[in-house]
Amino acid sequence: MSILVIVEHDNAAIAAATFNTLGAAQQIGGEIDVLVMGHGCAPVSQAAAAIAGVRRVITVDAEQFQQPLAEDMAPLVRDCAEGYSHLLAPANSFGKNLMPRVAALLDVAQLSEISAVIDAETFERPIYAGNVLATYRCREPIKVITVRSTKFEAVATTGGAAEQLSIPALAPQHKARAVSRTEAKAEGPELATARIVISGGRGMGSGASFALLEAVAGKIGAAVGASRAAVDAGFAANDLQVGQTGKVVAPELYIAVGISGAIQHLAGMKDSKLIVAINKDADAPIFQVADYGIVGDLFEILPQLEAAL
């Protein structure tokens, strides 16, 4: 059995979810190789070779991979897939975009966002916004899988000495072209991996009042998140959305402020170790999953919270 993990990166560093994906690969067992598709991505390949438990790093360095376009990546992954029993990538916007395209080229079914490995062909994954855990057996010759990173421990980033291998790219497809990218300004820790997350919902009332959350976040090193309602209303950027269709987080501490607790939001945060809810409505469903709660006006409580920290 051998597994190929697709490395997500920005040509300079490996994205954190890749290490959790490797954690899932270790649970499946067998030899683990990684594939780096990028441009000027030598630092990424170096870092990948140092990861504990990686046998081989396959690098494809070509101009077309400056931006990660699925149209160019998928045929290459298909060509690399021969001989592997499993292909894994993180279940984030990178892996979700790429892997189904790979699976279709291989004519195999895909398992999306697995939450547990039962054995090499049996996997658990959440369906219905996490209200049901389904276990599937997959008998496809190559198992194409995306991994929910919060459900698997990250592997050690050092201690490995993998063999390095470079292969040429295929001819670029020119079907899709990256025009521009708006990176959200990164202040504080990354939402998906932060130890503490403080999220605001519709109750925040405006984008300006997110400054109250940021003030608290700054004091405790938290990342700021948002509910779908807050993002839809334009209070917060789309990449802050936590929930069924946004990011799934599982921090040590999750503070939900002005969030009612729709099942679509709970799907994205209910694996948090400790949940705090601040809401003026004592009947809000968020209190049913909260370990600590304050019923009251968030505009009074948030400044008090900032002062008390």
Binding site: L69, S93, V108, G130, N131, R139, I294
Partner: protein
């Protein structure tokens, strides 16, 4: 330009599903069903392109039970021109759906396919990407903005780090995210009109597609209920004290 839109009939997003007592599957008996919310946004986007004079015809397709005709009628009431139902009583998997759509794209000579980025029942998020691969077309996944002009479609995608704009040469596949638009409510006259619009049935056999599942569902269980502490405190200071001492997370 003809647009094909895929729509799925799913359990209404307000319904909390239960699993069967033997843990073999989700219990779908007598539940309120609805059009997949993401697909509804795709229908709205396609209808707007027709209203803007960019699309010539909007054809909606569903692979599902006879009852999926209701879902298709809803899309027709929103402004789609025609509907096609591929009858299938089982649980459809994305790869089989993508193959079915590929056959219909050829039959209809569609230039643009639009669908929701995921169905809210199986949460797979696969069909659009798979269809694009099978057609060897470019894909614009998780679209929150869309512009079609000069033989290309420009898509703003919601990605982990923010927003990405890509340009796709037509023909192309677009999978839509929540913020692309707000679907209209169909008016009573348009609901009446939709009853007279053509709804054709085409079987998977006629399309040469095998819809049988590749994955075997072994069990479906409800996740363990979170044991919430449920402690209410009165002040922010009290909360901070509890987080520091009792919970020791600060």
């Amino acid at each position: 330009m003809k647009i094909l839109v895929g729509v799925k009939r799913v359990v209404d997003h307000n319904v909390k599903v239960r699993v069967k007592a033997d843990g073999s599957a989700v219990d779908l008996d007598n539940l309120k069903m609805a059009i997949n919310p993401f697909d509804e946004i795709a229908v709205e986007a396609a209808v707007r392109l027709k209203e803007a004079g960019i699309a010539s015809e909007v054809v909606v397709v569903s692979i599902g039970p006879e009852k999926a005709q209701d879902t298709l009628r809803q899309a027709l009431a929103m402004g789609a021109d025609r509907a096609i139902l591929v009858p299938y009583a089982g649980l459809s998997e994305p790869l089989a759906v993508a193959k079915t759509l590929k056959a219909l794209v050829a039959k209809e000579a569609a230039q643009l396919v639009m669908l929701g980025k995921q169905a809210i029942d199986d949460d797979c998020n696969q069909t659009g990407q798979m269809l694009a691969a099978l057609l060897d077309w470019p894909q614009g996944t998780f679209a929150s903005e869309l512009k079609v002009a000069d033989g290309q479609v420009e898509v703003v995608r919601e990605i982990d780090g923010g927003l990405e704009t890509i340009a796709l040469a037509l023909p192309a596949v677009v999978s839509v995210d929540l913020r692309l638009n707000e679907p209209r409510f169909a008016s009573l006259p348009s609901i009446m009109k939709a009853k007279k619009k053509p709804l054709e049935q085409v079987t998977a056999e006629e399309l040469g597609v095998d819809l049988s599942p590749r994955l075997e569902l072994l069990s479906a269980v409800e996740p363990p209920v979170r044991q919430a502490g449920g402690v209410l405190v009165a002040t922010a200071a009290e909360l901070v004290a509890k987080l520091k001492t009792e919970a020791a997370v600060l």
